[in-house]
Symmetry: C2
Amino acid sequence: MEIIETPAAMHRWAETARGRGETIAFVPTMGFLHEGHLTLMREGRKRAARLASSLFVNPTQFGPHEDFSRYPRNFDRDCELMRTVPVDVLFAPAAEAMYPPGSQTWVEATEVTQGLCGGHRPGHFRGVTTVVAKLFNIVKPHVALFGEKDFQQLRAIQRMVSDLNFDLEIVPVATVRERDGLAMSSRNAYLSPAERERALALSRALEAAGRSVAEGARNAAQLACAARFVLERTPGVEIEYVEAVDAESLRPIERFDRPVVVAIAARVGATRLIDNMVFTPRG
Amino acid sequence: MEIIETPAAMHRWAETARGRGETIAFVPTMGFLHEGHLTLMREGRKRAARLASSLFVNPTQFGPHEDFSRYPRNFDRDCELMRTVPVDVLFAPAAEAMYPPGSQTWVEATEVTQGLCGGHRPGHFRGVTTVVAKLFNIVKPHVALFGEKDFQQLRAIQRMVSDLNFDLEIVPVATVRERDGLAMSSRNAYLSPAERERALALSRALEAAGRSVAEGARNAAQLACAARFVLERTPGVEIEYVEAVDAESLRPIERFDRPVVVAIAARVGATRLIDNMVFTPRG
């Protein structure tokens, strides 16, 4: 696996591959890889001749009181895991290579980022779409893969790709879960064993929303209520939001007459976790 | 000259050219071409195997009370002029092809757009950088050419290209002037003969700034004052701004110890005109 640290060298790699007529799949990451990332990479491996990944803990998507400085990092282990896929090239720039002095350009999807996490993490999605636009221009992929776990991020990136006419395909990949249902996340590493147990409330809340669908729920609010009920009964879980919104636009929706995403953000101890599931109305 | 109307078809054209190893030069325009545009195109012709241009009067860079609907248009004449260069491919999309319903993503250079026209045309440069980012993704050029006449636009696009890691070269091209000094602009078509005469005050004001440089001016304010004096003495010319700022960052500057751009915006009758010149301190 080749490791590249500068945008200019990555441009050369991409142009060489494209010049040979090779397609490029791309999986951007913030490292501390888990099975979710590896699933994205294996899927990317199948879809193109060359597989690129990136490892960059992007400072501009963290708020001033968020966990940027303590975000878990393990570069050597991440490289080992990528080699098992195998990833062909890893783009791993320093922060100064990505944001040299004078940097001032932002890319922002303004509507899809209004609610859910966007309402609680001001500037977060602006940081995400900006760094992903940069990475797309640097890596020049034909296809890029993103996990459904970060559902609002996926929708913001899909909007950006469509609105800015990037000539690439975004492939969403289903959330990978632990055997007991917990959605995989690098931030799960923060959880104590007791918190790890409580964190199951998120996936169980989503399962409860699913039962309300099976029982014939007709309004989005019924799905959200079913999920909220589970979370509120779990001590040590502090709800940030539980919402059932249009799965495309992420706008509030009343009637459950098209796909709805039930999205949750909650704190378990000091750790902020998110999870979601998409439900489609029955027949 | 091939005429292409959709982003998807333009992607295919660009990929075909690039697949053959051909380089692409690109000159985006809003049409109603004059010698300034043609100079950009001839320069582009020299710099790449293939020359692409675009004609799109971009609604998002006009304010609600600006001249979008009456902006001068003459598609057939523009096509004829492009064929004389010759331009290989013209991208001429409808507004709905560029901004389909749901479009919501903006690209914004936040600092370089603060003063000058940015202070008087809120949202203008956000519209410019957004449409140019889209056009770069659609046309996939190796080199793109922009006139120095729209100096703040040039700086905003240079920042965007650098900040978002577009793999292309921006070539600035000197302002083309009429024999008597008036900077060429599609908006000159709005001027009555009497206004056309008064409009010379802009280039004469810049020449006066140049004389203050020749006479040993040490402060940026001296350049701006020399220009302002000429404009204020011309009846029928209403100054919007006259400023002498750092030619790179476009920030206010006190000492004239590095390149300074003197930039003017003024109304002549109902027509808003801009002009500028860059001055370098002597020895």
